[in-house]
Amino acid sequence: MAIKNLLGAIHDGLAEEMRSDGSVMVLGEDVGRAGGVFRVTQGLAEEFGPGRVMDTPLAESLIVGAAIGLSVNGMRPVAEIQFADFIYPGFDQIVNEAARFYYRSNGAWSCPMTIRTPYGAVPGGALYHSQSVEACFCNTPGLKVVAPTFPSDAKGMLKSAIRDPNPVLFLEHKRTYRLIKEDVPEEDYSVPLDKAKVHREGTDLTVVSYGLMLYTALEVAEKLSVEHGVEVEVVEPRTLYPLDKETILDSAKKTGKFLVVSEANLTGSVSGEIAAVVAREAFEWLDGPVMRLGAPDIPAAAFAKPMMDFFVPGAEKIEAAMLELARY
């Protein structure tokens, strides 16, 4: 075991899979010689050569399209979209082609490909380096959307994503890249793509969250326990689509109070889907309104820090929402 941050864990996961399986390769903007804009792929070009670590033009539709072609021809490509904000030129390739390839070919071809992309607001990120795009993809059967938060989960889930026979969109919250560190196993292991994780047991309310918000929610949960004696159960979906409804519902039924926190724009969000599942399936266990906390319907996290802080739900807002629900 060694302490790793999220970047390091993802790097290790990639490198280990490339070592153990010659069909695994990476492609994307600046992933080769530059080692990636966040240094995730540093050293891979040297170790595996330009054939398996390909620098591509600034053309996301090409990156995804090439990965589809490679995947149906025996490779297991890991495509990197440098920032999730730039994924939209590849949207058609992901949603119309990759996700439906297996269905369209009546099971003749599948696309065992992974698309990694950093998402989420960072100071100064503003319009093109801040977006949370997950909702745009969580309405596409055939695609898996995963968003691990902690390094050891990320490494294990990246391995599962690479080994999965169908396309997986792998979201990494870039503000947690260096923020969260933990012991990450060095031996080969994988984390399944269909299991949510209960990070903290509680009895008073359930908070479901992922990414930076999960990290903040866990801190607030500890604070509430100490200051108010409120015990919050914190659940991370880890895979956003399809959801592990069972784990989420078990927790909702246990506490009867339910809050989803994410930094995506609230309207039409994954939070809405999670809330709907709970409202329907856990109705008779609910002791309060199903609540959501997210970003307002504003086009982007602003460049100015005060405006960004307004946009991204912070610890204060999360605490207020938790307390409101606890006291309801």
């Binding site: 009867g256 266990w285 002791d287 006291r327 309801y328």
Partner: protein, 467 residues
């Protein structure tokens, strides 16, 4: 034009009233303010003065029936134009026979006041049956509920499910959620407590059964056995007493207090030798001067009031997620009626001296016994003084007068040998107890309060002046 008379709201938080007796019959003329009927509520009995002059056209509610506040109870043909104002000074309408369509014109479905329930009254005077209880649901009938009931029963899906599964009336539970909402934890605690309650008396009953008790033969009560209200067997010669509204009110309130407020209890002994001597010295003169007997109660109430000033937390109310400290000190005094207990209130007792308290108590006791208390005489209490000593009790464990935080009991004054300065002396001693809501306060402050009362009562000497 027939105008409806509605069941009045006889005091704050009173939601229903019982027609004890009609004092007028159909066809009788009635003057404005002339008594129309006697109404029992859970707090008080009183006469309902007619709101206007006219001729009784129909008595809609039979004697003995209990209806919600605001329900129409009678139709009175008012003389003149039939407007409300006509009632003011119009002479009785001798020449105004009731018209055939009079009742149809009467505004039978109006809401008499905000937040209260108005059941439309059938024109033939047939008794209205409220649509099945709040729990039944399902039959598609909509019951118009009062705002208070709605607040108390507004509940989440899980609370409704648990209420259904355990046959609980949500309105009986005091909620700790926002706006008094009953939360999942509230109902779970209630169910647990209730099951414990049913457990114990059940075993007791079985122990008292005819068979000699055999521990291993004791039937184990099934936990899911629901409290279907089983009737106690009636044997030959037994008499069945229907509950009077005051008996039912006492039962409800006392049960509620015991159920909701965790009672704790403490007692001190008070040496009132000086007070006894004082009273002996002045009582005859006092009675001849003031026309009332001087009892110990005014002294106790005065000491209590001063104790409450020192320890205001005893003059408070538990309110779910907060405690309300009352500014006014309105002391209720328990009065024993032959078959009931009533607690008239001395408002602003802290503004009265011994004489003022004596007069007020004498007035309240006399009016309690003659049934002349009004609704305002029995509401608004913030603390209660119980005086079982008047009946010879030396120890009692009073139940708090819901929703107050505490109650004080003053016991009989008895002569006892006590040790004074290492010698045995005969002293007049009284036990003082307080039962308090342990959610609101703890034993420390309860005893400091008791000692504050004790100190004042022990401070009287034979020569003290009383005012």
């Amino acid at each position: 034009m027939a105008t409806p008379v509605n069941m009045p709201q006889l005091g704050e938080s009173v939601t229903e009233g019982t027609i004890a007796r009609w004092l007028k019959a159909e066809g009788d003329e009635v003057e404005k303010d002339e008594p129309l009927c006697e109404i029992d509520t859970d707090k008080v009995s009183s006469e309902l003065p007619s709101p206007f002059a006219g001729k009784i056209e129909k008595l809609l509610i039979p004697e003995g029936d209990t209806v919600d506040v605001g329900t129409e109870i009678a139709l009175v043909a008012v003389a003149g134009a039939g407007k409300e104002t006509a009632a003011e000074e119009e002479p009785p309408a001798e020449e105004a026979p009731a018209r055939e369509d009079a009742t149809a014109e009467a505004p039978t479905e109006e809401f008499p006041s905000a937040g209260t329930e108005a059941q439309p009254v059938a024109e033939d005077g047939e008794k209205q049956h409220a649509v099945a209880g709040t729990r039944s649901g399902g039959d598609g009938l909509v019951e118009i509920e009062s705002a208070e009931t709605l607040r108390l029963t507004r509940s989440s899906p899980v609370v409704r499910r648990l209420a259904g599964e355990h046959d609980v009336d949500i309105a009986e539970i005091s909620g700790t959620g926002i706006g008094g909402r009953v939360t999942k934890k509230d109902i779970e605690a209630y169910i647990e407590e209730r099951e414990e309650e049913y457990e114990t008396p059940g075993l007791k009953e079985e122990r008292e059964a005819f068979a000699p008790p055999e521990p291993e033969a004791m039937p184990v009560r099934e936990p899911e056995r629901e409290p279907e209200r089983e009737r106690v067997p009636v044997y030959e010669g037994d008499r069945v007493m229907d509950l009077t509204s005051i008996r039912r009110a006492i039962a409800d309130r006392i049960s509620r207090s015991k159920r909701e407020a965790p009672h704790a209890w403490s007692m001190v002994e008070v040496d009132v030798t000086g007070l006894v001597a004082l009273r002996e010295r002045v009582k005859e003169e006092f009675e001849s001067r003031e026309g009332i007997r001087l009892t110990y109660l005014p002294f106790i109430v005065k000491a209590v009031v001063e104790g409450l000033k020192e320890h205001p937390v005893l003059n408070s109310v538990w309110d779910g997620d907060r405690i309300l400290l009352r500014k006014r000190i309105n002391v209720g005094v328990a009065v024993d009626l032959k078959d009931a207990l009533i607690v008239p209130v001395i408002p602003d007792a802290d503004e009265l001296n011994i004489l003022g308290l004596a007069r007020k108590i004498d007035d309240l006791v006399r009016r309690s016994r003659s049934g002349q208390l009004g609704p305002d005489d029995v509401t608004g209490g913030t603390f209660t003084v119980n005086n079982p000593g008047a009946l010879g009790s030396v120890v009692s464990l009073p139940i708090i007068n819901h929703p107050q935080a505490a109650i004080l009991s003053a016991e009989a004054i008895v002569k006892r040998p006590v040790v004074v300065n290492d010698a045995i002396a005969i002293r007049s001693v009284m036990n003082l107890e307080v039962s308090f809501d342990h959610r609101v306060l703890d034993g420390g402050v309860a005893l400091r309060f008791l000692n504050a009362v004790k100190k004042r009562l022990e401070g009287y000497g034979p020569e003290s002046e009383i005012w």
